[in-house]
Symmetry: C2
Subunit: 414 residues, 2 copies
Amino acid sequence: MLTSPTILDAADPLARFQADFVRSDPDLIYLDGNSLGRLPRATADRVATAITEEWGRGLIRSWSHWIDLAREIGDRIGAGVVSARPGEVLVGDSTTVNLYKLAAAALDARPDRRVIVLDDDNFPTDLYVLQGLAAARNLELRVLHTDIDAGIDVDALRAALDDDVALLCLSHVAYRSGALADMSTITEAAHAVGALVLWDLSHAAGSVPVPLTESGADLAVGCTYKYLNGGPGAPAFLYVRRELQATLRQPIWGWFGQQDQFAMGSTYQPVAGIERFAVGTPPVLGLYAVEEGIRPVVEAGIDAIRAKGVALTSYAVDLSDAWLTPLGFRLASPRDAARRGGHVSLYHPDGWRICQALIARDVVPDYRTPDRLRLGFSPLTTSFEDVWTGLSRLRDLVAAEEHLTFDATPGRVT
Amino acid sequence: MLTSPTILDAADPLARFQADFVRSDPDLIYLDGNSLGRLPRATADRVATAITEEWGRGLIRSWSHWIDLAREIGDRIGAGVVSARPGEVLVGDSTTVNLYKLAAAALDARPDRRVIVLDDDNFPTDLYVLQGLAAARNLELRVLHTDIDAGIDVDALRAALDDDVALLCLSHVAYRSGALADMSTITEAAHAVGALVLWDLSHAAGSVPVPLTESGADLAVGCTYKYLNGGPGAPAFLYVRRELQATLRQPIWGWFGQQDQFAMGSTYQPVAGIERFAVGTPPVLGLYAVEEGIRPVVEAGIDAIRAKGVALTSYAVDLSDAWLTPLGFRLASPRDAARRGGHVSLYHPDGWRICQALIARDVVPDYRTPDRLRLGFSPLTTSFEDVWTGLSRLRDLVAAEEHLTFDATPGRVT
């Protein structure tokens, strides 16, 4: 017996946050908040004020407002989104650039070790960055095979770790399956062999608790345009454990990491704190959008967000079992809610065409190869009604074979 | 006999462009458009539309608008701001990150050479990036001494070039003096020994013609928040000569440089074109601000901008000679207009206090160590009246010794 979404929405303690976000088209069911979060209502005004007042009126004098933004917003992420202490998180650059900086810094800190351990289910840009670093430094990439529906096999991972491993780099939440890695257990296993650990939090931050402090994680990077609602291409963040900061040096030496920056000294001498991982001029407009994007996340609290995320994904799994399995779908995510993050994937051999047909029915999912519909449930903006309506439209279109009229060749993700 | 600014403004063919920019405070004389360009009137609406319509309403579906923006805006810079061919310019990342990518790519392309040539008057972040690359690769940094008021000594530079030089990296316009380097002569000298050349265009782009194509320059990076009016921390651009693109590979392997990106292949295989120098998700809001920032530059035309830049700086030099030299100032820029870009610096032993006093008089200059007031004249937004008024306030405050009441210890640039 499936619960009515009306009942679930009525009991949802986070329901009020939906009003904090723009919903231009009430008929559109948006199940891709894990790819691009919805627009917070406050963002347009905040960015407009920054443009008109701070830039337009204040001009260069507004640098007094801007100079510390990257660290201040980082601290808010550390306090309310992930678990980190003040001075451990910095916003700026892209996730990929941050991953490069921190991975390179970690490898420099373990110069006698020759191995990077990763898994083949990590996000492609992570794979590429590590391939580039391994090629440049002639290191071994030890690639663990991960079941793309089930997530990391911790026993196999342990077996891949030895005292030649400099760096372990994994995603906290897998980008396809949503599988949630056990950050504490895995970090401990890496530390047992003396390796550093770099976590990609892109699909985790704002969706699940991220125990950076508690797990002893060394390094992390994350995206702000997914569950953190920072907007398209919003600046990413990085985390470096306080105790490691002075011992690590990232490879892109830039003036925003320099001591007494505006003395314009001729020799690079990085500051002691988290800003040594900064590079160039911070993207001010993007930073303000991030500030507004994280505000409702911090206000709601990550534990409440996680609870709703579990409820949303569990509801989707129940509906899928009832409605979609008979139509040839298979759950491509962990069935145990404790082992998955805020999204679930559904495998169907005709996934690409179904994705296109679903968009034509005003439901926006994401598509991930091979043949997976990825359904992202952003707890602050997705209602149980959205889940019900989205999956019922999916059921109806496949039952009616509407997808057979669409091109079967996978193209650009829309 | 000093010409009246009224006469000069009346004859200024670019005067109409001042109306395209916000001037909130008519009494403020802004002589720092070379540090942060004024706000174009169109920018706030363009960014607001991107936020509200493309992000808010279109959500993830708007990637069809966003996916090629970095190259499209790059092409506009190549067509109307610097001299480059389609597919040679890309917008994204910070100037410093771009400098790192291109310098590393150049060094990889000359693996048997051990020397990077630079000059000690290059912008600090350039020095730092090259120091970092030299340290990581155990290369020699051959640092040419440049007179900070006069610019690069081409004969001394030639003497520093030999067949062990992999890369020459210089600024087209010096950040303090405004000295304009001879891009063609210097590029030719570097090519004669088989070195690659990387130009920092940050203080040149939008102010002087940048003959990348004509000079045969290999690589360049530039800033968009100065004369290109892109706003605080706006994404930078990079240039890679078409013939070199396929042979160069930058070190930060990311998914926005990957062939068939959304196939999410497991092995990095960069695209053939300029986007192989892309890394992560492009900063969409920042890109739109850049698009609006360059629009009036392209419309005015760089030759007209250059002509007015020469007129503005020459006028400032004339006023300074008449009014400021008797008060202890000295021109810290080339006196020959053909040898300087869009800004001039004035040395005074009490420069820092004078800078503070000038700001208190509603004139915003920039301060650069040691003891230099840097006066940036952005041809699209600065009138001859601005130059006259700004320098007369400077004259009056020094004559009245108002600056003696300010703190003499240089601090943060305001």
